[in-house]
């Protein structure tokens, strides 16, 4: 009696599938060959002839292996761009917005402070803004890690990392600039120094903070991947 399972395993020894997947393929092909062999025996073939014909029916084993590998390759459920850019980008955007909102809700409330002309309503912008900027490196690191893990290249990784500043960038660089030119209602009280303060506060500093987390995360997760490859 032939050990068809062993024959299949030997001939497809280098099948590049994960263990469970490969075991299923081996079982299925073994069953097929075994049935073919039995059927040939029952038709009156000698054992030798039945083995030869059953194996011949398999065709070229190398072709079989290559075709099985390509046909069982799991197609990614989402396009690469979504995994490498859009998901990490929206994670960083949502987290940064959520952090800002949480700090505003649970952080210090506005209060009245003494002023020359009496009391003045003071909003603790610095007390909200500074803790928020300190959360950004962690968020940037997470975005870079997610993009890196999905196989994103540097451009996708860093675009996803700084994605939260995109709305502010659009606002300050494009929106406000257009408004200053076209609509004097919007820009009447706005001076150039104020514009740069806003640009620094909402684009440049947060962008730098996000990259402060994203760059090391990209570098270290890249190194980790390389080590895993070398260790097999």
């Amino acid at each position: 009696m032939h050990d068809w399972a062993q024959i299949v395993r030997d001939r497809l020894a280098t099948l590049a599938l994960d263990d469970e997947d490969a075991a299923q393929v081996f079982d299925e092909l073994t069953g097929h060959l075994e049935q073919d062999y039995r059927s040939l025996l029952s038709e009156g073939c000698s054992e030798e002839e039945a083995v030869r014909r059953a194996l011949a029916g398999a065709g070229d084993w190398q072709v079989l292996q290559r075709k099985i590998e390509s046909s069982r390759k799991k197609e990614p459920s989402m396009p690469k761009r979504v995994m490498q850019f859009w998901i990490p980008a929206f994670v960083t955007l949502l987290l940064s917005m959520a952090c800002l909102a949480l700090i505003q809700i649970f952080g210090p409330s506005p209060w009245f402070a003494p002023a020359i002309n009496g009391w003045r309503f003071v909003a603790p912008v610095g007390l909200v803004y500074i803790p928020w900027v300190f959360t950004l490196p962690f968020i940037g690191a997470l975005g870079a890690y997610l993009s890196n893990r999905a196989g994103g290249r540097a451009r996708a990784v860093f675009s996803a990392t700084i994605f939260p500043i995109l709305p502010y960038t659009v606002f300050f660089i494009i929106g406000l600039a257009i408004a200053m030119v076209l609509d004097d209602h919007v820009a009447r009280n706005l001076t150039i120094p104020m514009f740069f303060v806003g640009l620094c506060a909402w684009v440049i500093f947060p962008g730098a903070a996000l990259l402060a987390g994203g760059v090391p995360a990209h570098y270290f997760s890249g190194r980790l991947d390389t080590r895993q490859i070398y260790n097999g």
Binding site: D27, L29, G31, H32, A58, W61, V63, L64, S71
Partner: protein, 110 residues
């Protein structure tokens, strides 16, 4: 218009047509195709299983493991709703191809 992938479609059409009659495992499927075409169409392992796996990925067929009387596990394939939908245009393509070929041979014989 005959699709460029029609050659590949022959195997797909054969498998889907046979599975329309009921679920079968790989070996039975290849024997059934061979018997019904009087040996004109036959599948090697290298042709049959990659095709089945690909069709399963496209959700035209669904495979499920079952245990035979002999105790051996075998994978039984059945046609899905998507597979049934796919079968109709494939049949139409083939019918169109044969009509075109018949017309062509009549013209060249005339």
């Amino acid at each position: 218009m005959i699709g460029t992938g029609i050659k590949k479609g022959t195997a797909e059409l054969a498998i889907l047509s046979v599975l329309q009659d009921g679920p079968l495992h790989g070996y039975e499927l290849s024997r059934r195709i061979e018997a019904q075409t009087k040996g004109l169409l036959s599948f090697s392992l290298a042709a049959l299983y990659p095709m089945l796996y690909r069709m399963e990925q496209r959700r035209w067929i669904r495979g499920a493991w079952e245990t035979a009387c002999s105790g051996r596990r075998r994978r039984c394939y059945r046609l899905t709703r998507q597979g049934k939908k796919k079968l109709q245009p494939l049949r139409a393509e083939w019918s169109e191809l044969f009509t075109a070929l018949r017309r062509l041979t009549k013209v060249s014989n005339a």
